[in-house]
Symmetry: C2
Subunit: 396 residues, 2 copies
């Protein structure tokens, strides 16, 4: 099978490296050799073993009937969307690591893929190297997924791990940047945009409805301090950036990505550093968690290669179908009802206690923390609007 | 597709229940209805909705060409082996939850299945409801699995969780029996026979070699006390029954199931109650963990149904092949080199310190615990033979 790689960045380069290095294993698993015919990039790569495969026009790839599969590792919505549609319409399979394009246009790609008798696969778009979308597709095919709770962003999990060790947020971010975990502009990670896209994808697989990702609530981790996490631990929990999707009792769907209080009774509380973990509540198999490296060149390349091997070996299967639908059923984040963990400078404690009678209270240094009984998130959030030194976290 | 269920016990009954209850979902995922034509059991089930499906002779099933798949949920080696071979030779797919028969004869079944153009699938045999063997087969098809470390027995994990909370072993076992987690004769669980079988299966998938399970080292958890785990926690770890398989540097393979010291840096340290977690070190995807309910009627039935759906929908794939081989390469358990956690009545401490200079030492009550630098397990085990009040645990 001849393939093309779109974008020779970190992930695309990893795919190219692995297809060369593990050629024997990949051929054996695929039942045929998988050869890179083209690499699309703006740059040339003089001296690279694949330098003569580099092309600068997508048309070369689209118009070559020998290319059966395109691995899109460019990222971004455009031109990834246009290139993906062109490849699918030309009867080529597409596999991707690009959560932005999947969360925005995945429904279009699935429809085009089906119309042209090819596959659109995106294992690498959520959970990096973790086998997740294929087990959902195959092993859980006849089960309902009733809830998803995940740590799906390795960068912020690394930062929060450091913060939990006493490192202030800004220093933890700088360290993550130094290690190459965070971009120079870290907003997509720390402001939960990346998690927002990934939970949109997982929610679509669980419910069949692809929501507009920009309408999914995303909250930054920038306000989380060592004190916050230290006080959370007094209540038997920690703070993690949680991507959540679940139906509500009255037929709505609650989806968000936000820093939450995670009790130590949840396996998500123990996921540290750049690891990811995705917890699924399934109708028959119960609680499952898929854990592994959520990012990184080779793990993510591994998931792309798994999708390539699936196509080449004839064992690929269409994922659970989803369509753009149901944005009117998205629960406004203010309406989410849950218990809350609240931190407040001790001098302002009364602002919390007059709002609600806390279940638990602990004071550490100048800060006091409370566990509040269930209430609408919008109501408790009003406390933070009246006093920006008050922080509130949903308890999952 | 017409199927037969062999054995209407806990798991077989769960499969029957789910095939009836979730008929619509299972038909949709399978692309065809899946109907129970026969249930083989010694008993009758008067009043049961499937009572008219019950037969008492395997020949009825084997000789009926309409039966395309047999779900073997009897357990035990015999007659499960003979019935499985008969079904495969009659051109019927077989799926099973029976780790004993897979670990002893899985190689034969795979060969017969291939010879007769049918599938032999055993997702439910390891990790209960956790999708594990299919991700290993599919998602990780082109990767090497370099090591397996798992908590694969829910009963003992429940007991050790209770022991870690201060409950003595005998009381924790009685509680597990009361809750139906442990059998009246708990030996297969607490003496690690069940874990021994499961790690034999996982090692075969990783290495291609099916070892004689009875030659895989299995060590009981009966000696683990609340004190032991309390002292382990002083060193930043806990005690878990770990099923381990990995090649050694000199071409041997080290496989065992034994209570081990698990540092809190491992996600396995946080798996509590009846949950299972299987950690795989993969060549491309890095460290992955599959977590979920390792036992129980419906989760385990869920894995059997996933295998049935795989066959019915035409997406089943042959697992990584393995053959009986390499028992001469099994590392004798005494030769395993690692660090050890040792507990000893304080009055006998000198017996440990004269054996090896400890890296760390802590005394709690009348007991002292040590972390010893790497040495052969057989050497440190000699301490326990000379003084039965000394306990030694490998550190993983």
């Amino acid at each position: 099978m001849k393939i093309a790689i779109l974008g020779m960045g970190n992930i695309g380069g990893g795919v190219a490296d692995e297809l060369i290095r593990d050629k024997a294993e990949i051929t054996a698993a695929s039942g045929q050799p998988v050869d890179i015919k083209y690499i699309l990039d703006l740059r040339d790569f003089p001296g690279h073993p694949l330098e003569n495969k580099v092309v600068h026009s997508i048309d070369t790839i689209i118009n070559d009937p020998e290319v059966e599969l395109v691995a899109e590792t460019m990222g971004g919505s455009h031109p990834a969307r246009e290139y993906t549609l062109a490849a699918l319409c030309a009867g080529k399979h597409v596999v991707t690591s690009n959560k932005e394009v999947v969360s925005n246009f995945g429904d279009e790609f699935l429809a085009e893929a089906e119309a042209h008798g090819v596959f659109y696969l995106f294992e690498a778009s959520v959970g990096g190297g973790i086998p997740l979308i294929r087990p959902i597709t195959d092993s859980l095919a006849s089960e309902q997924i009733n809830a998803v709770n995940g740590i799906v962003n390795g960068t912020t999990n690394y930062i929060l791990t450091k913060v939990s060790e006493g490192v202030p947020f800004e220093d933890a971010l700088a360290e993550a940047q130094r290690l190459g975990y965070a971009e120079r502009d870290p907003s997509a990670d720390v402001d939960a945009i990346d998690s927002q896209r990934k939970i949109t994808i997982l929610a679509a697989l669980a419910s069949g409805k692809l929501h507009d990702p920009s309408r999914v609530r995303a909250e930054s981790i920038r306000g989380v301090t060592p004190d916050t996490i230290s006080l959370a631990s007094e209540f038997g929990g920690t703070i993690k950036l949680i991507a959540h999707a679940a139906p509500t009792e009255d037929g709505m769907v609650d989806i968000f990505a936000a820093p939450c209080f995670v009790p130590h009774s949840s396996p998500l509380a123990y996921i540290s550093d750049v690891y990811n973990g995705i917890l699924l509540d399934c109708s028959r198999s119960g609680t499952l968690m898929f854990f592994g490296q959520g990012a990184g060149k080779y793990p993510t390349a591994g998931s792309i290669i798994a999708d390539i091997v699936a196509v080449a070996s004839g064992t690929a299967r269409r994922c659970r179908p989803f369509k753009k639908d149901g944005d009117d059923l998205l629960l406004p984040y203010t309406e989410h009802v849950c218990r809350h963990f609240v931190t407040v400078p001790t001098v302002f404690s009364a602002e919390v206690t007059k709002f609600s009678e806390p279940e638990f209270c602990v004071t550490g240094g100048d800060t006091t923390a409370f566990i509040l009984p269930p209430c609408r998130h919008g109501d408790v959030e009003r406390l933070t609007k009246e006093n920006s030194q008050i922080s509130v976290y949903r308890i999952i």
